[in-house]
């Protein structure tokens, strides 16, 4: 399988990063090529006919004291990932190491001592607390289960914990139903922290809470991290929350990590088109930005089924930049910039990884209708005339600013007015070539090739565009299949979550 190969590259990519990153901290949790498949059984004999590939080969590591945010849409496998790395579910394949110890195949009994170090906080503050138990017994359960006698006795310790999470110690004898959602989530946190864990995996810790309460809990988790030196893996669908709490962020799509980067790098210059689309879709509480629909990227349809994920790059069915290579070859998660790993053939804000491949898939052309011109011209878009400038800029920045690892181009991108496309083109012509390396040359070639082929996807006009892409344009004209195909995908039988 290709995953083994992938592990190698990812591992290689990870090594130089660890060597070069300035604030190198000890790796607490390391996940290599992790997979979790849920079998689907069918027919009279209940033979396995397929699998829901909830997590399908992911690599990352969590360093001590940091917060790793994991975002993605529902069904991308982020929650499964959380349950697998805490070994609440058994992985199908891959390796999980905690503090250097391989915990992938540890039995329940062998895991027990480690349960002290790895704790989980759940989304539902109503469902995760036993209504028949008092708060005291809920929070002290970890002590009982682990047979730990804290200093000064269990009760005193529990009361200290309750105080720590902002509850009153008098709540010791109350029952969960007497508390509001936010308070219950605090109880859940107190329970998770009872044994002073090293790693806390929080699955949507605030998404069931009201906005004002959400902020209280976010701040609390923040304070606790500082106070207790906790390491968090926070799984959430809310990009604003994840951005607020995380140091690094992994973006998941259909069981894969498509981008893994430092918080600022990711939000300022997302490289994966999916990340970009995801971020642009977040509504912002600012009316002055209304009407500027120009920045929003609408994705067509829904996430395809994880039972039969698309070939090659899994995002290619909805991506406006997808070319043939995206359909055939799966992009590896490689470190393009220090601290920013991306799995994409045609990343945004960076040099194209497959510049020879310029012909857009028909699905991509349809998708690009929903993508604002600013994005098409601002990003390094294949098939549009202006890509050369952003690409060369991105590249020069990547090279010149490699040391700092930050880039200034998002500003450039945001400043661009919808009407500035022509300017951008002009700039691209005037822009000096960054370096006369082989890459630059191929870039140039590709840029000119793209210019020759007309502004095909961008303006969708001109006979040249059609001439240049004989294979795909008739399809695009006559057949709406590709998009509806992806819409249909979720129709296929839903797996029984077992």
């Amino acid at each position: 399988m290709s995953e083994t190969k992938k592990t190698d590259t990812a591992a290689k990519a990870a090594v130089p990063e660890q060597a070069s990153a300035p604030d190198e901290r000890e790796v607490l949790l390391k996940v290599e090529n992790l997979t979790k498949h849920f079998p689907i059984k069918k027919g009279i004999l209940r033979r396995q006919v397929g699998a829901v590939k909830a997590v399908d080969g992911i690599d990352f590591e969590v360093r001590k004291g940091e917060t790793l945010g994991v975002v993605g849409e529902s069904g991308c496998g982020k929650s499964t990932m959380g349950r697998v790395i805490t070994r609440l579910q058994d992985p199908t394949g891959g390796k999980i190491s905690f503090e250097g110890q391989d915990i992938t195949r540890l039995s329940t009994g062998e895991m027990r001592p480690l349960r002290r170090d790895i704790q989980m906080i759940f989304q539902d503050p109503y469902g995760s607390l036993n209504p028949r138990h008092t708060i005291g017994s809920i929070v002290s359960a970890p002590f009982r289960l682990q047979g730990v006698e804290p200093e000064g006795g269990v009760k005193k310790e529990v009361q200290r914990l309750l105080e720590l999470v902002g509850l009153s110690p008098e709540h010791y004898n109350r029952y969960p139903h007497e508390f509001s959602g936010g308070q219950r989530q605090r109880i859940g946190i107190a329970r998770a922290l009872a044994l002073k864990p090293k790693l806390v995996v929080a699955d949507e810790p605030v998404s069931a809470l009201d906005v004002s309460i959400q902020a209280q809990v976010v701040n609390l988790m923040d304070d606790l991290q500082e106070e207790l030196g906790l390491t968090y893996v926070i799984i959430a669908h809310d990009l604003s929350v994840v951005r607020h709490v995380s140091d690094r962020i992994a973006v998941m799509y259909l069981g894969k990590i498509v981008e893994l980067a430092d918080r600022n790098a990711l939000y300022e210059a997302p490289m994966h088109p999916y990340t970009k689309a995801l971020m642009s879709a977040v509504p912002v509480p600012d009316t002055t930005r209304r009407g500027q629909k120009s920045e929003r990227i609408l994705l067509r349809g829904d996430v395809p089924s994880p039972i039969a994920p698309p070939s090659g790059c899994r995002f290619h069915t909805r991506c406006w930049k997808a070319t043939e290579i995206c359909r055939t070859t799966e992009p590896q998660l490689v470190e393009l910039k220090p601290g920013q790993r991306v799995a994409c053939h045609h990343p945004e804000n960076f040099a194209d990884q497959a510049p020879q491949d310029t012909v857009l898939l028909s699905a991509a052309k349809e998708a690009s209708e929903l993508v604002p011109d600013t994005v098409l011209s601002g990003g390094s878009q294949d098939g549009t005339g202006s890509e050369a400038d952003s690409r060369s800029e991105a590249e020069s920045e990547a090279k010149s600013e490699a040391a700092t690892g930050t880039s200034a181009e998002p500003e450039q991108e945001q400043e661009q007015e919808p009407g500035s496309k022509t300017e951008a083109v002009a700039e691209s012509e005037a822009a000096p070539e960054p370096e006369a390396g082989s890459e630059g040359a191929s870039d140039k070639e590709q840029a000119s090739a793209a210019e020759e082929s007309g502004s095909g996807a961008g303006s969708a006009s001109g006979p040249e565009a059609e001439a240049a892409e004989p294979a795909s344009s008739p399809e695009a004209a006559g057949d709406p299949e590709p998009v509806s195909g992806s819409d249909d995908a979720p129709k296929s039988p839903k797996p029984k979550g077992e």
Binding site: E73, S212, A215, Q216, S240, D286
Partner: protein, 361 residues
Amino acid sequence: MTELSKTETGDEATAKAPSAFLEVRDLKVHFPTDDGIVKSVDGLSFSVEKGKTLAIVGESGSGKSVTSLAVMGLHRLGARGKNVRMSGEIWLNGKELVGASPDEVRRLRGREMAMIFQDPLSAMHPYYKVGDQIVEAYRVHHKVSKKEARKRAVEMLDRVGIPEPAKRVDGYPHEFSGGMRQRAMIAMALVNNPELLIADEPTTALDVTVQAQILDLIRDLQKEFGSAVIMITHDLGVVAEIADDVLVMYGGRCVERGTATEVFEKPQHPYTWGLLGSMPRIDRETSERLTPVKGQPPSLINVPSGCAFHPRCPYADIPADNVSRTVRPELELVGAGHWSACHLSAEDRERIWTEEIAPKL
């Protein structure tokens, strides 16, 4: 919104039909329970014109959903509806609904006013085909054959962007994805071309990318049909995106109301400030800390005296004579088409907003 200033100051008889398309005056919805009277909505007034969108913002238990159910006449039905106490007026297109007979309201429901809900999976009947559910909605109000109604259903599914509508019309809700289900819900709500669409957290259960699609769709359809939309949500981002007017609810009452631009750029109520401060924002530099509203949402049985927000308000002590705790503030005009119910003086509000709140957002 201008008519409202009159109604609120009370210098005009309220029994007259208003000129606004939908006008709610002093609506109260109380539910007596064993523990006391739950004052879910306690004196709420607002209006919506056709083609406009009003967003009602608030946390769970603020009364925003009860308001929408009251407009639809839905809270009166079912087991719980027997002991609801309701007063005030709801004028829809010149007809008063609070005093109207249940059957009159039923006839309007679905035809002149329609509603879409938060969770499209549980909001659709699991046993019936999506198409049949739309057909049913159409045939209650139109005397047409099943075949014609089905044609209409396919047409609506197509209109809301469901691919292969002729095929999907025979699908069951569970065979649709979340986004597609919400589209189908919208198709069902709009099948009779209602003039008022109430959307109760229509995107909360959806992913951001799908949320963007749905908001876009609602906006487009509104433009096309010119209907009035009430959007109930807790997400200020969604509000900023779609609303013309905003109404912020707290403890069953309106604490601030105004045009979206006014409310977002010059919010006047400490609760609105709190909401804005609680939200991590993707469009700003990340601040170190969020500024949450302290404490818990109020009980609707024992609503705090005076200003219901005073136990959580950091500025409750600024107004003199302890007035925040004793006197309930009424809505006052604080800007062009902008009302707020707060005891803080205009100068104090201006100062706090510009000096303390705005820089932290």
